[in-house]
Amino acid sequence: MTAPGRKPSRRRKGWHKLFEPLKPRREGTMSAGMILIVVLLAFGVAVLLNADATLRKSNAKGDGIRNEIARTVASVTDVLQINFFRNSIDSALGKNQGTNIDVEELLRQQAEAESAAAAADAQKVPELAAPTPTEPMKIWVGGDSITQTFGTSFQRITQSTGIFTPTLDFHISTGLARPDYFNWPEHLVKNVFPADPKILVIMFGANDGQNMVDTNNKVLVRFSEPWIVEYRRRVAATMDLLKDPKNQRLTIWCGPPPMGPGTKTQGMDELSYIYWGEAQSRPWIQYFDTWPFFSDSEYMFAGNLPNADGVVRGMRQKDNVHFSTVGGDRMSWAVIDRIGKLVNITAGNVTPPPSQGAPPSLVERSELPPQMAGAE
């Protein structure tokens, strides 16, 4: 009943409910329908507020429908100017101020140490003192997930030689394409060089076949010509960073192995060519050509290969990307053999058992074939 002369009170309906405090009949509860509205709208608002960050990640991951959606959402938020919230947080945190490696800054940190004398000396392959059991040599092996199995083998085998003190340092990460994810040059300067390893064995890059963002926030499509120019620049800067002022550090830069069928990694030959090319003018970097050891006579991927004892074994894990333990052992002995050509390591037990080492007939290529820019 309504009092005479008064309008009937109308219950507020629809969107007004969104602004009224809830009075749940049971403590801490809400209806499933209201939860759906709250979650849907919260998720939608978060996607809009976060559009720039989502686009940044999407740009790096590659093309496709996700990237198209991310671009569309980001352009909407640009117009609406609602990306300021996330961008302000990033700015306050000092994050995502461009994804370019600040190698120049890192290089400046080393500039004092790099005297003219050192520069002259560095034009030669570093001449390292021969390690002995009483004075073992510090050797560091690091890289991405491929280095996990290879590095574990390498650590075990170098330890067993009696003349090396190995350190394994792998990070599930990209190489040089996504320094915002893991910054290898920074890691090398901050965490690796202070331990003063005499030999560094580096192996990363298998995940680098992805788009990059340059200093102007422009997306460089993977393996396009501008991408290669930028990637080459990063490789060159990292190699320069590896130069020791006293020329007492040798780096074995291992190219990524060929990847098998069904893998998403692409362009390993392109990356190898860039590494090899940049290493040619830097004697402190010795490029190690992985391909002959993990491919057939045509340099095509081979998952099963014979070792020196003639027994065929599986070199790779089921994903056709990562090494098996056997593959890691084979790779390790090949790298040790390469080190042996540059440093006198005869004081150690450096002869591979035939069941672990590659057939002696396998040798690295003296020159890598040039690649076509833009070809995946």
Partner: protein, 478 residues
Amino acid sequence: MLFPTIDFGIFFLVVFTVSWLLRPHRIAWRWFILAASCVFYGWWDWNYLMLLFLSIGLNWFLGLMIARALSPEGDRTNASRWLVRIAVIANLGILGYFKYFDFFVSTISERLRSIGITVDGPMLNIVLPIGISFFTFQAMSYVIDIGRGQWRKPLNFLDFAVYLSFFAHLVAGPIVRASEFAPQLDETPDPRYVRSGEAFMLIFRGMVKKVVISSYLATQIVDPVFANPDSYGPAAVLLAIYAYAIQIYADFSGYTDIAIGIALLLGIRFPQNFDSPYIALSLQDFWNRWHMTLSRWLRDYLYIPLGGNRGSKSMMYRNLFLVMIIGGLWHGANWTFVVWGALHGGYLIAERVVREKWKGHELGLPQVMVKSMQWFLVFNFVCFAWVFFRAQSIDGAFTLLSRLFASSGSTAGVSLLLVFVIVASVASQFVPQRFPQKAEVWFATWAPALQIAALAGGLVLIDALGPEGIAPFIYFQF
């Protein structure tokens, strides 16, 4: 599919909507949840769905056979005992094949190599199927419970498939028992009263723990120091050890918080898996608070069948030690996990011996001081054991520990913020449960628009504070 991703957000919105629409239709709901769980698991590798269904089919069939083999009164018979043994062996066989085969082959090869015999055993080199340890343990608990006569009526195939594959607990627990899950399948929760306050808080808290705290500690100090301990000095190493204790707690309990919150939004309640473990005053107390569903599993299906507290003290200690070693090995195929388990087994035995010896003795110190000392010892014992859990090898663990006494070394990564995060994370565990519970109830009274703003702002903040990309949860590998 990882929880804190846009992919999962979209997936969950669809599942949540359809699930509540289908909830009154019990069979349709079950088929839908099973399909959703397959999509969730298949997102990593569709091939491993076959393994999941092998486990479902095998355990459902054996459960049925075991139930039929029991006496009419539900007592065990010779046939039921044999069938339980077959079920346990089959489950352990599958787990062993995928998880431990390479470990045993490489260990034997290494031993033979050390005595001059070179034998290259056949290595499988297969990627460990995600969550295999969790769903295998759940399946084993089901068949063993039936064999014990605790389940008179085995689940039908669909119910069992939903139980074992339910996406919220599939890949990293909690280890939910059929007796906890199955009765909820027959209930029809009221869609007007979904525990949103608790669920939102759990999900939000879990994401902060995983995306912000765990990731920060991992990248800031834990990963660099554990990868390269030789370079670091005592301060960095000590902080890395404490940071790892927080990282693994934040990572794992963060996952279970999200899992419990998600299940709650769908009207399913999971058991609690963590209860502020770092406030424990004894090691026994720690294990009552850490990974509680695994502790219960080990107690009921291993410790008690081994003899438990029955028999002599030496037998009890043996049982305790064995259970902890097997618990360690459950976490992974590496000797580091065995050492971690052995350390905890040793701690628990030592604690019991000391407690026996000190019974009736008083230190004469204020209670607060005694409790503080107990807390300090337990926390540091646990942190010490974590070193072996995290290290890549036993040698690596000793190298790291030796750096605690080094005279020099890098302090890279050490900062006031890091110390604050570690201290605040430990301190937060002392906050009484009633405060977050009150906050949950309060949050549910907020106007929906305010809840939307808070949740959206929270998501953006978490994404901004976290690293680019989400690392897999640590416990996915177990």
